[in-house]
């Protein structure tokens, strides 16, 4: 395959960036999108240019490192995949592909296509946990039966990989799908009830502090989420928040 890549290049957080065009040839449809970028980078390095910086690690869709806004969509045109699982067979020979970083005020660019998503970590520090110390005498794992339905639903929420596609896809740069998923996981389980009030209040407060926008129910996040996290989680988070605020 022969392609024209239009890639966002930005030296660092302080410099201004711009789109640079790179023609590329000899791409196999069996390559993953990141392997296509590997090919480009090897070429750039041997030609004495700097390679394009992008985040990546596990390359099997679970670590949440890879990002990329490809032709105007987080993780590209395929559904339920991360960029590392996107294969070139989803494109046509001769295509022009725009590759940009995830854009949001709360995700500043570090270099080229890499953004700083540490805001997500800080939201988790605020309450994304159950306060239980490690000890050898926690009660038995089967002491509290949890209905299969609740466990499965909690698992569906917990499957979030923290990639930030929801934020990048949202016109308000809202992180509510991400926060809603974590709040939901604990809200659905008996273990999470004790701290439910503080958790949702603290996490939402930190989310606002980081500069993420609000949800206006356009649903783009759900469509682009590589793990299919449902909008219901946002609704559940809002219910939890109202409940918590009423309690005071």
């Amino acid at each position: 395959m022969k392609l024209t890549l239009k890639i966002w290049r930005q030296k660092n957080a302080k410099n201004k960036g711009k789109i640079v065009e790179y023609p590329i040839d000899g791409i196999s449809p069996d390559m993953s999108f990141l392997e296509m970028l590997d090919v480009l980078n090897q070429k750039l390095i041997t030609e004495g240019e700097e390679p394009v910086a992008f985040d990546h690690d596990c390359r099997e869709g679970i670590c949440g490192s890879c990002s990329l806004y490809i032709n105007g969509e987080a993780h590209g045109p395929d559904r339920r995949v991360t960029t590392c699982q996107l294969h070139m067979r989803k494109f046509k020979d001769g295509d022009t592909i725009f590759i940009e970083p995830f854009r949001a005020n709360a995700f500043p660019v570090i270099k080229d296509l890499i953004v700083d998503r540490s805001a997500f970590d800080r939201i988790q520090h605020a309450g994304g946990f159950i306060s239980v110390n490690t000890s050898g005498n926690t009660q038995d794992g089967n002491a509290i039966p949890i209905s299969k339905h609740a466990a499965d639903e909690a698992m569906d929420a917990a499957t979030c990989i923290g990639c930030g596609a929801c934020v990048a896809s949202c016109k308000n740069s809202s992180a509510m799908l991400f926060v809603g998923a974590k709040v939901s996981q604990y809200a659905l389980l008996p273990q999470g009830q004790v701290e439910a009030t503080d958790r949702v209040q603290n996490m939402v407060a930190q989310m606002d502090l980081e500069g993420f926008g609000n949800c206006t129910n356009t649903g783009a996040c759900e469509v682009e989420c590589p793990k299919g996290i449902s909008l219901e989680n946002i609704a559940r988070m809002n219910r939890e928040l109202i409940k918590a605020n009423l309690k005071g």
Partner: protein, 665 residues
């Protein structure tokens, strides 16, 4: 230096309890004055960092990813073992211990493995308390599945994402401590050296991967939870960034490196599709619960499949060779990984491979779909003889069990595994070898600890499925936080460790020198060029089957490649900026040394055991042949070039288990 494993005296089942009771404690007020460095935030590092902080120590945690949640433990799929015996199928601490020692081909340390089995049940309780959403049955109780090499169901799981959920559990425990200020987290930092002061590990040198800044960090102890070194093969199921650098730098500072040649080649991975390939993808071992592995019986059928002139579904049942079921009737498709991998290689080498490269076998769910379909039809009172109905009901069940894995396969290979069998081939997955540690998980450098995959101690020559998660969390939650107290109790009067000493200066200078050397080298070939070549040597000559001639050649070739690397490597950009190529150069430099030691270790070990298969040592029917005189751990001391490394032996003593030929027939 003689190796002292420090195994406590007394009966096996009492060792850990009596050892815990004799450990010196540090009073809570003193813990506030003690700093512990933890490198790596996977299951081992993350759980250790959280637990040490809960105890009151000041923890500094480091990871090269942009968040601790992205450590590669996240990719573990199938499950975690624990001797809960919830299924009432005869499981016990002893049985988990026995299975693990046997599975490791009698090359692991009895006392460590027993302790691992003992604390396994605590792990499940702890994770449930943290809110890990394990799979449950309709009664609301925890569900189990089976894994290879055992005859009980003791594997707990969260869909095909168990590693993710356990890591997020450890990450949440870390977050609580980061929020309280007890853990100071350094993301996007790479450890580039250990600093040893007066014979004790007292700090590390790191590089900030965003700014390029070289930093000094001090602590009273250093814990390595930096994972395994499978990427020495270039292609593996490890993450792109997984590397040996932290462990290797520790080795160069005096920590012995144990059993480097013990590598796990996992049988069920997606086959290599071409030269562009950057990594390999695992298909969880849990698939072998229901998938049947086969190749055609007739060579002409295999050829036709390779040329794509025949479809696998067109091959009649009697013309299929279910070679694992044929060779190992007792365990069938659930034999341990090393056995399954070698059996697949044997068939492919004989010409029966089923893809264009001849390096793949089928993993077929057709009979499971029919079995589940009929069962469902029966439960629902529908017609069990209606094939279409049975197919669709069966596929629903298979989807509910393995849906995310099937989807992953389809995205990569572009074939629908519900309709045609998957193709799989073995790939490098895990390294049993690692930094040598004693019973306290301390290396041969006082104050330097290694946990999880980074150490060597629990899996012998082969790891059983769902045991890596168990070991990582056991070390981090339940072992290290106790054993490290013994060492730190001597440090209550030490006070803060200064970074303004000649040892820190020297270590920092070394790190800067290497970085400058790479940046100024201006060679002609990128780092990947050398990494790929190293990987080819490793796979072809130190892979699933090894022999003396190949290993000797590998040693020469790796040594020559290393020289070429330093002469010809091209690293673009500068040192004081985000520069992935620079980070990669440092990692590959270490792989090029480790690779040679790996081959040397494999050459010296003149026997076959677990993942280490020497062609010269096999039984008449092609099984691994252990030799009594090799019942020891090879611990290598750094002496400059890898070829000069000095071997120390730790004899393995089996008092509670009879060492016999490992049979899965």
């Amino acid at each position: 230096m003689a190796l002292d494993s420090k195994i406590p005296k007394g009966p096996l089942a009492d060792k850990w309890t009596s050892h815990k009771n004799s450990i010196d404690l540090v009073n809570p007020a003193n813990k506030r004055n003690i700093d512990v460095i933890v490198v790596g935030t996977g299951l081992a590092g993350g759980s250790a960092a959280a637990t040490l902080a809960e105890l009151g120590y000041n923890v500094k945690a480091f990871c090269f990813q942009d968040s601790p949640r992205r450590a590669h433990s996240i990719a573990a799929q199938g499950g975690i073992n624990a001797a809960k015996n919830y299924q009432g199928d005869g499981d016990s601490t002893y049985r988990l211990f026995y299975d693990t020692v046997k599975g490791g081909d009698y090359r692991s340390r009895e006392a460590n493995v027993y302790r691992l089995a003992e604390v396994s049940t605590n792990i499940i309780d702890q994770c449930v308390a943290q809110g890990v959403p394990f799979a449950r049955d309709y009664g609301g109780l925890l569900d189990n599945r089976s894994f290879g090499g055992v005859l009980v169901s003791r594997t707990f799981y969260a869909k095909g994402q168990t590693g993710q959920q356990l890591l997020l559990g450890a990450y949440s425990a870390m977050n609580r401590q980061i929020g309280r200020g007890k853990i100071k987290m350094y993301n996007r930092h790479e450890m580039l050296d250990v600093v040893v002061v007066d014979g004790k590990a007292r700090g590390i040198i790191t590089r900030n991967l965003v700014t390029g800044e070289i930093e000094r960090h001090s602590g009273h102890a250093v814990v390595l939870g930096s994972g395994g070194y499978g990427n020495v093969f270039y292609l593996s199921t490890n993450a792109m960034g997984s590397n040996v650098t932290a462990a290797w730098k520790a080795h160069k500072r005096g920590a012995y490196f144990a059993n480097p040649c013990y590598t796990q080649i996992h049988p069920t991975c997606i086959p290599v599709s071409g030269d562009h390939q950057s990594k390999l993808t695992l298909m969880s071992e849990s698939l072998r619960n229901d998938g049947r592995i086969w190749v055609p019986k007739k060579l002409e059928d295999a050829k036709a499949i390779q040329n794509k002139t025949l479809k696998p579904t067109a091959i009649a049942e009697e013309d299929r060779d279910y070679f694992l079921e044929r060779r190992y009737p007792a365990f069938g498709n659930l034999v341990p990984r090393d056995v399954a991998s070698r059996a697949a290689k044997e068939r492919c080498d004989a010409g029966f491979g089923v893809n264009a490269t001849g390096e793949a076998v089928f993993l077929d769910f057709a009979s499971a779909i029919i079995r589940y379909g009929k069962e469902q039809a029966h439960v629902k009172g529908l017609d069990e003889n209606n094939d279409d109905l049975v197919q669709s009901l069966g596929k629903e069940i298979v989807k509910s069990k393995y849906g995310n894995l099937f989807q992953m396969y389809e995205k990569i290979v572009d074939e629908n595994p519900y309709e045609t069998p998957m193709m799989i081939y073995p790939a490098v997955h895990y390294t049993m070898g690692g930094v040598w540690v004693d019973y306290n998980l301390q290396t041969t450098v006082p104050g330097l600890y290694a946990i999880g995959e980074a150490n060597f101690s629990d899996h012998g020559a082969n790891r059983l499925g769902a045991s890596a998660l168990m070991q990582g969390l056991a070390d981090g939650y339940f072992v290290l936080p106790y054993t490290i107290g013994n060492y730190l109790s001597n440090d209550i009067r030490t006070g803060p460790i200064s970074t303004e000493t000649k040892e820190f200066e020297e270590a920092e200078k070394n790190v800067r020198q290497q970085i400058d050397q790479f940046i100024n080298n201006k060679g002609s070939k990128p780092v990947d060029y050398f990494h790929k070549r190293l990987g080819k040597i490793m796979w072809n000559k130190c892979g699933m089957a090894r022999n003396e001639k190949d290993l000797k050649e590998a040693i020469e070739e790796i040594s020559a490649l290393r020289k070429e690397f330093y002469k010809e490597v091209l690293v673009p950009g500068d040192a004081d900026e985000f520069n992935e190529e620079l980070a990669k150069a440092g990692r590959v430099a270490d792989f090029l040394e480790l690779g040679e030691l790996f081959a040397k270790d494999a050459l010296v070990r003149e026997e076959s055991a677990g993942g280490h298969f020497r062609e010269e040592y096999q039984t008449a029917d092609g099984e691994a042949q252990r030799r009594k005189e090799f019942q020891f751990v090879s611990a290598w001391e750094y002496k400059g070039e890898p070829k000069d490394a000095q071997l120390h032996k730790e004899e393995l003593v089996y008092e509670n288990i009879e060492v016999k030929e490992r049979s899965y027939k």
